[in-house]
Structures are given as structure tokens and as C-alpha cells.
């Protein structure tokens, strides 16, 4: 097996995540799909790091993880405050900027 297969797996996971973002309407699940896409990117970075034989890819993956952690904190805070004001976590209900 060639490590390129890891890239194919990452592409597949990324496409599944993108489909989930388009299909689902629960804001939390949409957010999870975004996490899945970020993870797929990380897998591709790690596989590239191995293909090239240097650690730069792993550094980028590490930074992606940090950014993802910050993003999750802010995103979930937004979802919680949306739920507080609209009593629903559906992205369809949040069609107006202001109540």
C-alpha cells in the first residue's frame, strides 16, 4: 500500500463533511461536520509530511488543531446564545439578524 491512500481517505472524509454541512439543519451537527472536514485536512497534512520526509506538515496540522479549538469555543458560544434567544438550534430558524 502506498501512503497516497491516506490522501484518498482524507478526500473522502472531507467530501462527507461538506455534504453534511449542506444537508443538516441542526447547528450543532453542522458544526461537527466542519470539525470532520478540519480533521480530514489534518490527515492530509500528516500524510504529506510523511511523503516529503520533513516535519513541516505536522506543524501545520498542529496549528490547525489550535485554530479548531479556538473556533469550537466561539462557535459553540454563538450556538448557545442563539438557542437562548430563539429556543431552537436549527439554522433555518435563524433567518433574521434580529428578533
Amino acid at each position: 500500500m502506498n501512503p497516497v491512500n491516506y490522501l484518498y481517505l482524507a478526500a473522502l472524509l472531507f467530501a462527507i463533511g461538506a455534504t453534511g454541512v449542506l444537508i443538516r439543519r441542526n447547528a450543532i451537527v453542522v458544526f461537527m461536520c466542519i470539525e470532520l472536514m478540519l480533521n480530514a485536512c489534518n490527515l492530509a497534512f500528516v500524510a504529506f509530511s510523511r511523503l516529503h520526509g520533513n516535519l513541516d506538515g505536522q506543524i501545520i496540522a498542529f496549528f490547525t488543531m489550535v485554530v479548531a479549538a479556538a473556533e469550537v469555543v466561539v462557535g459553540l458560544a454563538i450556538i448557545v446564545s442563539l438557542f437562548r434567544s430563539r429556543h431552537s438550534a436549527s439554522v433555518d430558524d435563524a433567518s433574521l439578524m434580529k428578533l
Binding site: M1, N2, P3, V4, N5, Y6, L9, A11, L12, L13, F14, A15, I16, G17, A18, T19, G20, L22, I23, R24, R25, I28, V29, F31, M32, E35, L36, N39, N42, L43, V46, A47, S49, R50, H52, G53, L55, Q58, I59, A61, F62, F63, V66, V67, A69, A70, E71, V72, V73, V74, L76, A77, I79, V80, S81, F83, R84, H87, S88, A89
Partner: protein, 288 residues
């Protein structure tokens, strides 16, 4: 993994890839197809753990451990907390708001996957270098020397980003209190002045078989009283209903059990008439 410019990995790694890769894809599909957010979160956690194993197999030992600690340990637990806060049983409605949107989205995803696959297939990636040389002095040491030399500026900006995210989360979830909180004494006096609900609120309902907190208590005429259920559950719409249908069922069951018990053994029905609880026991015995 040790040889430089190799063409294939070991058979063990190939086996691991095909088995765990299948599970990872199934987990990802379950994440987007499960109706309840909790199930989605658990499937995603499984996929992330498998990705951590793949990182380890690819020689990224530090990232593999960080993936488990940060993603499955911290981020997924944060997700589960928010799911609990928003309501566990709040399932997605399956009604489509835009007609045919689901199939169009699936087609888009498929097209996207084909595009990515074609891109990877066209690239010439036949041989690979392996990380043996880069990991010579240890994976963590290699990463550290890169982070604190070549990427030190990005690393510092990351610190600023984390601080900003922390402050942002606090600002978003913090609610300013516009008026002074009432003391217990003031609340009690207010309740007396208003004259409604002087005693504590009634307890959630118990009718023969149910004593759960999310089932409304029954008024003397048999209608459920929403007042007996916790306010949070009421707002989420999570009240389970002892509807009139279920009550009719229960009545029919009682009727049947008394009918059946009267015929074989008259003594037992006599003792069974003492109270409701006894009669319920009799019903259970009869059903056995």
C-alpha cells in the same frame, strides 16, 4: 517506514489502513446521517480516535496523542455539553424546506469527492521519503525545534488567537443583569400579594405505571396538568404525555383483568379491591 524513498508500506500497516479506514468512513457517514445530535457526536468521536491511530502510524507521534487529548478529550466533550444544554432529544425535523435540497447536496458532495480524487490521482506521488530521518532525534524534539525557530511568529499569533477566543466566548455567553435579583423574602411576599399558588407547585404526575419527572400529573378529571412539570422541560417541549388514549388503554386493561380474575379465583379479586396498587399487582400476575 525506515527505508528512504520507499514505494510501499508494511503489510501490517496496509491491513490497519483498510480495516480502520472503513470504520472511519462509516463513522463519518453516521455523523451526518444520525437523527439525534448525541449519536452524531459519538460517531464523530470514534472517527477522531481512528484518525489519531492513523497519525501514529504515519510517524506523527505527538499529533496522535494531541488528537486524542484535545479532540476526543476536550472538543467532543464540549460538544456533548452543548448538546445537553440545548436539549438531548431535540432531533432534526426531516421535512425539507427547499424541495430536492438533500439530493442536490448529496450530488454536490459526490462531485466534490470525484474532483478531489481526480486531483490526487493525477499527481505523481509514487514514492515517498518516510519520516525516519526527520524523526531521528525524536518527533517531539523535531517539532519543538521547528516551532520555536521557523514558525515562532505563527506560534505567538496562535497565543493571541486563543486569548481572543476565550474573551469572545465569555462576552457571548455572559448575560448582564439589568435589575437587582429578588431576595427570598421579597419573592415570598410577592407570592402572597398576588394570591395565586401560595403552596409549592404540584409534583409531577403519578398514574399507576409512571412516576417520571417528565410526565404531567393528572387533575381529578383525568386531564394532564402542565404545571406539575419542571419549567425547563416545559420550555423544551419535552413533556411526555399520558394522553387520553393511554388512559383508555389502562382502563381497558383493568376491566379485562377484573373480568379474568373473577372467573378462576373469587378470593383474589376480593383482596384485590382494597386499593389501586394491589390491583396493579394483580394485573401483572394475571399477565404472567
Amino acid at each position: 517506514m525506515t527505508a528512504l524513498a520507499a514505494y510501499t508500506t508494511s503489510t501490517g500497516e496496509a491491513f490497519q489502513f483498510w480495516v480502520l479506514g472503513t470504520v472511519a468512513v462509516i463513522g463519518a457517514l453516521c455523523t451526518i446521517l444520525m437523527k439525534k445530535a448525541v449519536h452524531s457526536a459519538l460517531c464523530l468521536a470514534g472517527t477522531m480516535i481512528i484518525l489519531a491511530v492513523f497519525y501514529l502510524a504515519n510517524g506523527a507521534y505527538f499529533l496522535g496523542i494531541v488528537q486524542i487529548v484535545v479532540y476526543t478529550g476536550a472538543i467532543m466533550m464540549l460538544f456533548l455539553f452543548v448538546v445537553m444544554l440545548v436539549g438531548v432529544t431535540a432531533a432534526d425535523s426531516l421535512k425539507e424546506t427547499i424541495k430536492g435540497q438533500r439530493w442536490l447536496a448529496a450530488a454536490c458532495g459526490l462531485g466534490f469527492a470525484i474532483l478531489l480524487f481526480a486531483g490526487i490521482g493525477n499527481a505523481s506521488l509514487k514514492d515517498f521519503n518516510g519520516l525516519a530521518k526527520a524523526n531521528e532525534g525524536g518527533n517531539v524534539e523535531g517539532l519543538a525545534s521547528l516551532i520555536f525557530t521557523k514558525y515562532v511568529f505563527a506560534f505567538e499569533i496562535t497565543g493571541a488567537l486563543l486569548i481572543t477566543a476565550t474573551v469572545g466566548a465569555m462576552v457571548l455567553t455572559h448575560r448582564e443583569r439589568t435589575e437587582r435579583a429578588k431576595t427570598q423574602r421579597e419573592r415570598a411576599e410577592e407570592r402572597v400579594r398576588e394570591g395565586k399558588h401560595l403552596p409549592p407547585l404540584p409534583a409531577p404526575g403519578v398514574y399507576a405505571r409512571h412516576n417520571a419527572v417528565d410526565i404531567a400529573g393528572l387533575l381529578p378529571d383525568g386531564t394532564p396538568s402542565e404545571l406539575t412539570v419542571n419549567k425547563t422541560l416545559r420550555e423544551r417541549g419535552q413533556i411526555r404525555d399520558v394522553s387520553s388514549e393511554a388512559l383508555d388503554d389502562l382502563r381497558a386493561l383493568e376491566q379485562r383483568s377484573t373480568d379474568r380474575l373473577e372467573r378462576p379465583d373469587l378470593r383474589r379479586t376480593d383482596t384485590g379491591r382494597n386499593g389501586d396498587g394491589d390491583r396493579a399487582e394483580e394485573t401483572e400476575e394475571a399477565s404472567k
